[in-house]
C-alpha cells in the first residue's frame, strides 16, 4: 500500500489494520465450508493489490506454505479441495436439471465405483424412492451403462452385504393400502428373535426377506410393533449392522435418516463422500419431503436446516440450496 507522506494518523493505522484483517478473514471464509463465496472473491481478491494478496498468503498457513526458494506456495491438497468446492454449485445444478431416473442411476453407479464407504447411497436410493421411481432408475441405468443395476451390484459388492444390496435395488414393492390382515406383528417377532439369538443378521434369510420384499406400509407397522414388543427401536437394535440399520431407517423413518446424513455433511471437517450428501439429499428431496426433513432436523438438532446451511455454505451453492428448500413455500 502506498503511504502518502504526512497524512497518516495513529487511528488510521489501527482502522486500516482491522479493515485489512477483516478482509483477509472474509477471504479465508470465502474459500472455506461448502462451496465458495464467489461475490467476496470477486470483490476482495479480484480488485486486490499485490501486497494484499501477499498478506493473504502469508496469513494463511493452511493454504500456503513457505517454499525453500523464498515464495509462499499453494498447498497442493488445498488446491484439490478448492477444485471440489468450486464444482459444488455446478454439480448441484447439473444434478437438479437431470431427469430423476438418470439422476438416481448416476448416483448408484458412482456409489458402486466409490466403494463400500459409499454403499449407503445405494441403500438410500433403493429404499427412499417409490417403486415406480426405482423402476425408472433401473431403466435409465440400462440406457446409460448397458448393464442392469443388479448385475453391477452383484459383481462389485462382496461379502454378506451383496445379498441385501442386490435384493434392495431389485425390489418392486407393493404400494397400495395394507390388506386388512397383515402379519406385521409376526414379522416383528421374527426379527426380534433373530436379534436376540445373536446370530449375524445380514446372513439371516428371514430378516433379508422381510426388509427387501415387504411393502413400506407394512414395514412401518413392523417398526411400530417391534417397539411395542421389545421396548426399543428396531434401528437402534441393529446398530451393530450398519447396512441393516440404514435400510430400516430409510424404509421406516426417512426424515430422521436424511436429517442425520445432512448433519454429518454440514460438519466442518466432513470428508469428501460425507460432504457430497448435502447436494445429493437437497436435490433429490426438494420435490418430495425437504420441508419435513427441515422440521425433523430442527427437532433433532435444535437448529433449522436452513440456518445451518446459511452458516456453513457459501455463495451460489448456498443460494441454490436454500432456493431449492424454499421452493415448496
Amino acid at each position: 500500500m502506498i503511504i502518502k507522506p504526512g497524512t497518516r494518523k495513529r487511528g488510521d493505522d489501527r482502522d486500516e489494520a482491522m479493515a485489512q484483517s477483516d478482509e483477509l478473514e472474509a477471504l479465508t471464509k470465502a474459500f472455506s465450508g461448502h462451496g465458495v463465496d464467489e461475490t467476496t472473491l470477486i470483490a476482495v481478491l479480484g480488485k486486490s493489490h499485490p501486497e494484499k494478496r501477499k498478506a493473504f498468503r502469508k496469513g494463511n498457513p493452511q493454504f500456503f506454505k513457505e517454499d525453500e526458494r523464498s515464495f509462499e506456495r499453494w498447498d497442493d491438497h488445498r488446491i484439490k479441495l478448492l477444485k471440489r468446492e468450486f464444482s459444488r454449485f455446478k454439480n448441484a445444478v447439473v444434478l437438479w436439471a437431470m431427469h430423476p431416473w438418470e439422476r438416481d442411476a448416476r448416483l448408484m453407479k458412482e456409489a458402486l465405483k466409490d466403494g463400500p464407504d459409499s454403499y449407503n447411497v445405494l441403500i438410500e436410493v433403493a429404499c427412499t424412492r417409490s417403486s415406480e421411481e426405482l423402476l425408472g432408475a433401473r431403466r435409465a441405468y440400462h440406457s446409460l451403462f448397458e448393464h442392469s443395476i443388479e448385475e453391477d451390484v452383484a459383481s462389485h459388492v462382496h461379502g454378506p452385504e451383496r445379498r441385501l444390496l442386490v435384493a434392495l435395488v431389485s425390489a418392486y414393492r407393493y404400494e397400495g393400502t395394507k390388506p386388512k390382515e397383515d402379519n406385521a406383528k409376526a414379522e416383528a417377532k421374527t426379527i426380534l428373535n433373530v436379534i436376540k439369538s445373536g446370530e449375524k443378521k445380514t446372513d439371516n434369510e428371514e430378516v433379508i426377506r422381510i426388509l427387501t420384499t415387504r411393502s413400506k406400509l407394512l414395514l412401518k407397522a413392523v417398526y411400530k410393533d417391534y417397539q411395542e414388543i421389545s421396548g426399543s427401536n428396531l434401528d437402534e437394535d441393529l446398530k451393530s449392522d450398519s447396512r441393516l440399520q440404514e435400510t430400516v431407517q430409510c424404509l421406516c423413518t426417512p426424515e430422521r435418516y436424511f436429517s442425520q446424513v445432512l448433519d454429518l455433511a454440514l460438519e466442518i471437517d466432513a470428508d469428501k463422500s460425507t460432504k457430497k450428501a448435502l447436494t445429493r439429499v437437497i436435490v433429490t428431496r426438494a420435490d418430495v419431503d425437504v420441508k419435513e426433513i427441515d422440521e425433523e432436523f430442527n427437532k433433532m438438532y435444535g437448529v433449522r436446516l436452513t440456518k445451518k446451511i446459511e452458516d456453513t455454505a457459501n455463495g451460489n451453492y448456498k443460494d441454490f440450496l436454500l432456493r431449492l428448500i424454499a421452493k415448496g413455500d
Partner: protein
C-alpha cells in the same frame, strides 16, 4: 413365431361380442363358436373384446366363461383370454400356493419372458394380488430355492446384444469352479444366472463348453434326484434354448400317464403368440410325430379343439 391364425378380414369387435353372448345364451354353451372366435384373436384383439363385452353387457367376459365352461377347456380358454401380463401374474400366484406350488413355473415365467414382459407381470401382480411377486415368492420358498427364485423374479436384465468376451471367460471359469466344488447354491453361480443379460449368459455358457468340454447342464446332472440341480438345469435351458425347454415340458406332459393338462394348457396358452412354431418344430424333430397329432391322440373334446386352434392346426 406365433401359431395363431386370425381371420382376414377381421370381424368387427361388436360382432365378436354378440356372437360370444349368443354362445352363452340358453341351455348349454356353443363351445365351437367360442373356439372359433377367441381361438383366433391375438392379445390386443382379445383385450378389445373383453372391454367391449363389459361395456355392452355389463359383465366381465371372464366371469361368463367361468360360469359357462368347465374343466380343462375352461382353464385353457380363461388363461388364453387373460392379458399376457395378467396371465403370468395369475400363474405365478398359483405357483406360490401350497397345493399348486411350483418352483419350476416361477422360474419359467422369470426366465422365458423378456425383461419388459416380466416387469409388466410384476405390475399386474401388484394390481391383482395387492402384494409384490417377490414378497410372495420369498415367503413361499426357503434355502437355495429362495436364493435362486427371488433374484430371478426380481431381475430386470439388460436386453442388449452386447457381450463382453473377457467377462464371459472369467464367469465361465467361476461357474466351472463352483460346480466342481458342488457349491450349486453359491452366490456367484446364482448371481451370474440371475443378473447377467441373456446374451451375456449365452456367451458365458458357450465359452464354458469350449473351455471345459461339456455343456454346463451335463455337469449339473450329477444327481438326478436333486431338485435344486433340476431347477438349475431348467433355468439354463430357459435362458438359452427356451423352445427346447418347452418341447420337453410338452413331451413329459403328453407322455405322462393320463396327461398333465396343467402343463399342456400353460405352455400352449403362454407360447401360442410367442414361439409356438419353433416349439412345434422342435417337438416333431424330437418325437418324430407332429405336435397336433400327439395332442389329438392324447386329449379329447373341446379342450383338444381349442389346443389345436391355438397351435395353428388346420383341419384337413
Amino acid at each position: 413365431m406365433s401359431t395363431l391364425t386370425v381371420p382376414q378380414p377381421l370381424p368387427p369387435v361388436a360382432d365378436d361380442c354378440e356372437q360370444l353372448r349368443k354362445a352363452f345364451a340358453g341351455w348349454g354353451t356353443n363351445e365351437k363358436l367360442i373356439i372359433s372366435i377367441l381361438g383366433h384373436r391375438n392379445a390386443a384383439q382379445r383385450k378389445l373384446i373383453r372391454q367391449t363385452y363389459a361395456e355392452t353387457y355389463g359383465e366381465d367376459l371372464l366371469k361368463a366363461l367361468d360360469r359357462e365352461l368347465t374343466n380343462d377347456f375352461e382353464r385353457l380358454v380363461v388363461l388364453w383370454s387373460l392379458d399376457p401380463a395378467e396371465r403370468d401374474a395369475y400363474l405365478a400366484n398359483e405357483a406360490t400356493k401350497r397345493w399348486t406350488s411350483s418352483n419350476q413355473v416361477l422360474m419359467e415365467i422369470a426366465c422365458t419372458r423378456s425383461p419388459q414382459q416380466l416387469l409388466m407381470a410384476r405390475q399386474a401382480y401388484h394390481a391383482r394380488y395387492k402384494k409384490s411377486l417377490e414378497e410372495d415368492v420369498a415367503h413361499h420358498t426357503t434355502g437355495d430355492f429362495r436364493k435362486l427364485l427371488v433374484p430371478l423374479v426380481s431381475s430386470y436384465r439388460y436386453d442388449g446384444d452386447e457381450v463382453n468376451m473377457t467377462l464371459a471367460k472369467a464367469e465361465a471359469k467361476i461357474l466351472h469352479e463352483k460346480i466342481s466344488e458342488k457349491a450349486y447354491g453359491h452366490e456367484d453361480l446364482i448371481r451370474i444366472l440371475a443378473t447377467r443379460s441373456k446374451a451375456q449368459v449365452n456367451a458365458t455358457l458357450n465359452h464354458y463348453k469350449n473351455e471345459f468340454g461339456n455343456d454346463i447342464n451335463k455337469d449339473l446332472k450329477t444327481d438326478p434326484k436333486d431338485e435344486f440341480l433340476t431347477i438349475l438345469r431348467a433355468t439354463v435351458k430357459c435362458l438359452t434354448r427356451p423352445e427346447k425347454y418347452f418341447e420337453k415340458v410338452l413331451r413329459l406332459a403328453i407322455n405322462k400317464r393320463g396327461t398333465d393338462e396343467g402343463a399342456l394348457t400353460r405352455v400352449v396358452a403362454t407360447r401360442a403368440e410367442v414361439d409356438m412354431k419353433f416349439i412345434s418344430e422342435e417337438y416333431q424333430r424330437r418325437n418324430s410325430i407332429p405336435l397336433d397329432r400327439a395332442i389329438v391322440k392324447d386329449t379329447t373334446g373341446d379342450y383338444e379343439k381349442m389346443l389345436l386352434a391355438l397351435i395353428g392346426h388346420v383341419e384337413a
